[in-house]
């Protein structure tokens, strides 16, 4: 496929001028190569990478799961199933590894994008010596687009001020449409297009908005546009769904398809999926199911109400996931209609990690309660579920739900554990389907090669005929860590090149080599990330003292037989190898992404006053002033017309966690939702005067401590007009995806009392809104709160 172009150094250099120049055009000879655009090698295929979020090996019917995935199956039947494909067990790391072809720690993503830490393996910053696959393709003439979830931009860099080099456009994508963070409300996402937050799409009762549908629409629109303008240029599309990450949002008709399908519970589901996997041949017929994990309750031990609730949780998740398959199918249909499916390489990974157990044992009406470390008993969860609309509302926009952890465990059948647990296949082995009619020799087959997400980039490059560059922008490149498996598309007996791989996520570790797998699970409950749960792993902790398990995967597909006692020499060999690999790829220090739990925190921010003037909307969650756990004030200078005004002065997030200062019926009000668990409202009794008016909300915390209570005072022109108490406040983060607005409340509103007027724009003039988050507290208290904030961010990130 070589065309003589030197593609080893990017950007590709313009060839020397081969024409002739004279003083005038007379006698000058043209060289049109000077004006040519870089072109990919002849025959280079289009590439569509589809990445599903937070899903298990045993979810899609294509791999024996209970969720109907006809489009995934048609791709598998026309292509190949890979049943030993691996990811990193956590979200951003998998994405970073896939897009760079390097191990995640080497590119700064030992943990997730939210927390940019102080060690090279955990700074959430892809280095310039590891150019991404889209950048390589872009520089070789591909058109590139990323749509959907991104999750590779640090939390504090998601604002209009950039920097933008960690945004999609800075990492090789011509076009981006989606959300920058780790998750989004599927009914009310905060959308970013290229380098601008464009807001929350309009949604009405008659025409409700649903992000997965729009994701496919936008993808198809982009394909149609670029194909119309450039009929022959290959494209690279990275289509990353928000599904099936929490919140599990889906229109009722999709969940209803699964009514009654999970009434027998997770234990039975696990057995049934395992049997189907054997029938399909994606699991060897002699495989054994690992023993039951006692960390999850048996279905029989539950009350009838619990069984009904939990069954509904899984019905919703299944409908949500099937909708994702349907929407990917729409994109595939569009590609087929364009006549391009034959020469499109479809790489479809069902899960960036195993299914998520972060809903805790009960599941939750609001995933942010877990991420804020708010313990809720099963009874409290049920009460709050009742409060927020009951079982019928599960999956709708009034909740941000996440199912019970045991569903995730069953979703990862035949493997144990799940997301975050990189020591076991439940966290790291996910379905892969490759569809490439021009390259696959025996469609419908299963490939058993050990493959890993870092193999995607080298495989794509080989099939495109493009070499991995040695230099990009003058910077010498780290060689790709992955191995191509391109030849396995046409040859089932192609050699297995990926024979050794380390795994690490949140301290859970594994070392694989030549079929042997040493599992070194951090002995903790995966969904608990708080100082107490992590205390054991601080100073004095020796990871080598933790229990290990050893498996020989060629004989034990699902890790059912622990051989550690029988092969101590193999344990030692792999443990030693892990430490060598860990050093080589910047995995050290273990738990480097959670360093804030051990006193290693970033410098305390010096800026404490934030002023918003004009129409500023859709501020990302990670960019708002830190109003958590201490006193703060919000002051606004208004102009109220004669006859009064109404509307939102400032609103952050929604009714499942957020705050709003607004004017209703002419009176100043403040509403605060402590994650939908508790709600507080303070209201003035008299209307605002007209003219220039200053309003203020003062929160005087009881003490600078996590979730502190305190007194709220509302003032108009310096005079108190309302007081109230808030017993508990949000300790870490209100929302995983919603934003803050000045002068309105976009998306789902904070106080449902004005939902019918949303976005409830302020009818007067807002000159400025000022947040003052400089509380009067000691340096010691300031340090304690700062550590808490850093821990909360890291914990949120680990769960995102």
């Amino acid at each position: 496929m070589s065309d003589g172009t030197d593609r080893s150094t990017l950007p590709i250099r313009r060839p020397p001028f081969a024409g002739v120049t004279k003083r005038t055009l007379e006698g000058s000879e043209a060289d049109w190569d000077q004006a040519a655009q870089v072109a990919p090698p002849e025959g280079a295929p289009n590439v569509l990478v589809v990445l599903i979020d937070d899903a298990g090996f045993g979810n899609p019917s294509t791999f024996g799961g209970p969720i109907e995935t006809p489009n995934y199956t048609r791709m598998a039947e026309g292509g190949l199933r890979y049943n030993r494909f691996h990811v990193t067990a956590v979200c951003s790391p998998t994405r970073a590894a896939m897009l760079t072809g390097r191990n995640q720690h080497r590119v700064g993503f030992g943990l997730v994008a939210e927390f940019s830490g102080p060690f090279p393996g955990y700074n959430a910053t892809i280095p310039r010596d590891c150019a991404t696959l889209p950048r390589i393709l872009q520089e070789n003439g591909y058109m590139t687009a990323a749509l959907g979830k991104w999750h590779l931009t640090p939390d504090n860099q998601q604002g209009s001020g950039g920097p933008f080099d960690r945004w999609p456009s800075g990492l090789g994508f011509d076009y981006f449409w989606g959300f920058l963070g780790g998750e989004a409300g599927q009914f009310d996402p905060l959308i970013t297009e290229n380098q601008k937050a464009i807001g929350v799409p309009e949604s009405t009762e008659d025409d409700p908005y649903y992000f997965p549908d729009d994701l496919s629409d936008k993808t198809i629109d982009w394909l149609h546009r670029v194909r119309a303008e450039k009929p022959e240029t290959p494209w690279f599309v990275y289509y990353a769904t928000g599904c099936s990450h929490a919140p599990h949002h889906v229109p009722k008709e999709w969940a209803a398809k699964y009514e009654g399908k999970f009434d027998e519970g997770w234990d039975v589901m696990r057995e049934q999926v395992f049997a189907r996997q054997k029938e399909l041949g994606v699991v060897p017929s002699d495989a054994e199911l690992p023993p039951r994990n006692d960390g999850f309750p048996t279905w029989d031990s539950l009350s009838e109400t619990e069984r009904r609730l939990y069954a509904r949780q899984m019905e919703t998740y299944a409908g949500y996931s099937e909708n994702a398959d349907w929407n990917v199918g729409r994109v595939l249909d569009a590609v087929a209609e364009m006549g391009e499916l034959e020469n499109t390489l479809v790489i479809w990974i069902w899960g960036d990690n195993g299914a998520s157990m972060e809903g805790t044992l009960t599941g939750t009406f609001n995933e942010m309660t877990t991420l804020n470390g708010i313990p809720l008993t099963p009874e409290q969860q049920m009460g709050l579920l009742f409060k927020h609309g009951g079982l019928e509302a599960w999956g709708g926009d009034l909740m941000a739900p996440h199912y019970a952890a045991a569903w995730a465990w069953a979703s990862n059948t035949p493997f144990d554990w799940g997301k975050q647990v990189a020591s076991h296949l439940g966290g790291t082995r996910n379905p892969l389907v490759v569809h490439y009619p021009n390259g696959v020799s025996d469609p419908g087959s299963v490939r058993e090669h050990f493959t890993h997400v870092i193999d995607i980039a080298p495989t794509v490059l080989e099939l495109a005929g493009i070499p991995a560059p040695t230099h990009v922008d003058g910077i010498e490149q780290e060689p790709l860590h992955g191995f191509t498996f391109a030849d396995s598309l046409s040859a089932s007996g192609a050699p297995e090149r990926h024979t050794q791989q380390y795994f690490e996520a949140v301290g859970n570790r594994a070392m694989y080599k030549d079929g042997w797998w040493l599992a070194m699970r951090l002995p903790r409950i995966p969904w608990l990330l708080d100082p107490e749960a992590l205390r054991h792993f601080g100073p004095g902790w020796n990871p080598d003292d933790d229990p290990v398990e050893l498996y020989y995967l060629p004989d034990d597909f699902a890790q059912a037989n622990d051989l550690a006692d029988q092969h101590p020499e193999k344990v030692e060999e792999l443990r030693k190898l892990f430490w060598e690999e860990a050093e080589r790829y910047q995995v050290l220090p273990i738990l480097g992404g959670l360093s804030s739990f051990y006193g290693i925190v970033p410098p305390i921010p010096k800026v404490s006053t934030f002023t918003y003037r004009g129409r500023i909307e859709n501020i990302a969650a990670g960019m708002i002033p830190r109003v958590y756990n201490h006193s703060y004030t919000i002051s606004a200078d208004l102009v109220v017309p004669d006859g009064g005004a109404e509307g939102v002065i400032v609103a952050a997030f929604d009714h499942l966690g957020g705050f709003a200062l607004y004017v209703q019926d002419g009176k100043l009000k403040h509403h605060y939702s402590m994650l939908g668990v508790l709600e507080y409202t303070q209201a003035a009794e008299t209307p605002l005067p007209s003219g220039d008016v200053n309003v203020e909300m003062v929160f005087a915390a009881d003490a600078p401590k996590p979730a502190t209570g305190g007194e709220v005072t509302l003032l108009v022109n310096g005079e108190p007009v309302a007081v109230g108490r808030m017993e508990h406040t949000v300790p870490a983060r209100f929302s995983g995806y919603a934003g803050m607005d000045i002068g309105c409340d976009n998306g789902l509103v904070v106080d449902r009392s004005y939902a019918d007027k949303a976005p409830f724009r302020f009818t007067g003039e807002i000159k400025q809104v000022v947040f003052d988050i400089a509380p009067d507290m000691s340096d010691e208290d300031r340090q304690v709160l700062h550590e808490h904030a850093a821990q909360a961010l890291a914990a949120h990130g680990a769960n995102a």
């Binding site: 579920l385 009742f386 927020h388 609309g389 009951g390 079982l391």
Partner: protein, 172 residues
């Protein structure tokens, strides 16, 4: 009625209507069998479309004479003060319920419960002798939250106070 004449006023809420029906039926069976003595039990169910249905025990259970006015039953005769406090059920749910059809709901407890219950849920209000508490607890096993107040005698005034207290307990 026992010597001390004490009654329990219970409010229970359910995520799932047919489980509430199951408990209601169990309660009625206990009363019919004479295992417990009741002054009335009301079941309010609300289906997924928001349609509300109210059932209550009849006189055959031998009510001891709670006088709630006009000779009508507990459900329609007793107007309950904030039966389920807003803090228990929530403004968010209330917002959802604004457009709910109110067919077959009459004034009184049913209407109050309609306001309080999200679609696809149910509630039970029961009045029974305190000595029967254990047996009743054994019958109402599917509720997700319940609250009980005690009253001294079966007067409408006492009953209202008991309902208020139980309602507040549910909210706490």
């Amino acid at each position: 009625m026992s010597d001390n004449d004490q009654l329990d006023v219970l409010i229970a809420v359910y995520l799932i209507p047919d489980l509430a029906q199951q408990d209601f039926d169990g309660f009625v069976k206990l009363a019919e069998a004479g295992t417990i003595s009741t002054d009335g039990v009301v079941l309010v169910t609300k289906d997924a479309e928001g349609e509300v249905a109210v059932q209550e025990t009849g006189d055959h259970l031998g009510r001891k004479g709670v006088k709630v006015g006009g000779g009508v039953g507990l459900a329609v005769g007793l107007f309950a003060p904030p039966l389920l406090a807003a803090t228990a059920i929530g403004a968010a749910a209330g917002g959802v319920l604004g457009k709910v059809a109110r067919k077959r709901v009459q004034a009184g407890i049913g209407e109050k419960m309609d306001d309080a219950l999200p679609p696809g849920s149910a509630g039970i209000i029961a009045i029974y002798e305190h000595d029967n508490a254990e047996a009743v607890a054994g019958a109402l096993t599917n509720s997700i939250r319940s609250s009980i107040a005690q009253i001294d005698k079966a007067s409408a005034k006492e009953l209202k106070a008991g309902l208020e207290e139980a309602s507040a307990g549910l909210a706490s």
